[in-house]
């Protein structure tokens, strides 16, 4: 551990904007990807369930 204090850590030798701008945006993108992955799966499953229900009604099949 070579940081004298937390403020020195956040300051990154005066380059905090560039370092945290890099890591911050990258991890935000990764979090967004995981969120949309989850949301898309939910949406697809709901759409397919509706599609299946409609098809079963049309053909009069038993579920």
């Amino acid at each position: 551990m070579h940081w004298e204090s937390w403020s020195a850590f956040w300051d990154m030798g005066g380059r905090g904007f560039y370092v945290w701008g890099s890591y911050g945006v990258s991890f935000a993108l990764i979090a967004l990807e995981l969120y949309f992955l989850h949301r898309t799966r939910k949406a697809v499953i709901r759409r397919l369930l509706r599609w299946r229900a409609a098809r079963l009604e049309d053909t009069g099949e038993d579920a």
Binding site: H2, W3, S22, S26, L37, R46, R52
Partner: protein, 278 residues
């Protein structure tokens, strides 16, 4: 569908026999080929993805700890060099995933396996994100070290082209209505576009670029301190396992959509409906 004429045609074409051969192998319970069948791959992907995700998370935490608390200050660049631990793995993944997409595209064209094309689809968004991260972190690193966010040198320009290739793939495959045609058009773009990957990789050798040379090379001793190299590799493995996990999850959703007319997806949907109500 292909299966309609089967058995009625007295002399099946070569293509058909080839297809039947693959399908027979996919049905064989002990052959690894069975996982090329979406029905078999779907549960396998569901079992594997959480493990890859957990491994990625552990490696990312370890890598970030090394990056910020163990790796020393760089003698020339000071603290800002710590961007490298994100920048280089992201750039590697963006190139590697594009090659993997092209690989699945070739497999899809040659063997006519649906799952191969789906794998290519599943990789594209993640590859595009890594490519953007490489460009973004590169810009933020370039400003304090080179004095500019952007320069039109060979490395940066070819990496930007990779971004457009990813976006082109995503736009093209979503614009074509018929999934079989979208698969093939996308695969062709991935295969042709993969020529750009070696151009990115060797650009720093072939042209005089502002961008520095390769950080890690198999043919010579590493030019950086061991702890920095180890940190970068840990982060690279984290990025790799993350990409695998996300691609597996994404391909599962894709499989459900594409195979919705099959009995096994109907059964899976019934199971999911019960789960949704709970």
């Amino acid at each position: 569908m292909r299966g309609k004429n089967r058995g009625m045609d007295a002399t099946p074409g070569r293509r058909q026999r080839w297809q039947q051969g693959i399908e027979a192998r996919q049905r064989s319970p002990r052959s690894l080929w069975r996982f090329a069948a979406p029905q078999q791959f779907y549960p396998l992907a569901g079992r594997l993805a959480p493990w890859f995700a957990a491994l990625a998370a552990v490696l990312a935490v370890a890598g970030l700890y090394l990056a910020f608390f163990v790796a020393p200050t760089d003698a020339q660049q000071g603290e800002v060099y710590r961007v490298i631990f994100l920048h280089v793995p992201a750039a590697w993944m963006s190139m590697f995933l594009y090659l993997v997409m092209a690989f699945w595209g070739i497999v899809g064209w040659v063997l006519n396996t649906r799952l191969s094309f789906m794998m290519a689809h599943a990789l594209a968004p993640t590859g595009a994100i890594w490519c953007f991260i490489a460009l973004w972190t590169g810009a933020l690193w370039g400003r304090p070290t080179w004095g500019t966010y952007w320069v039109w040198d060979a490395r940066l320009t070819s990496q930007l082209l990779l971004m457009f290739l990813y976006l082109g793939y995503l736009a093209l495959t979503r614009a074509i209505e018929d999934p079989r045609r979208a698969d093939r058009a996308g695969a062709l773009l991935a295969i042709v576009g993969s020529i750009n990957v070696p151009i990115i990789y060797f650009s720093v050798k072939w042209w005089n670029t502002l961008h520095q040379g390769a950080s890690v090379s198999l043919t010579r001793a590493p030019s950086m301190a061991t702890v920095m190299l180890v940190t970068m590799l840990v982060m690279a493995f984290a990025a790799w396992f993350y990409s695998i996990a996300v691609a597996l999850w994404r391909v599962r959703t894709l499989i459900l959509e594409r195979e919705r007319h099959t009995d096994w997806v109907a059964a899976e949907l019934d199971r999911l409906a019960v789960k949704e109500k709970e």
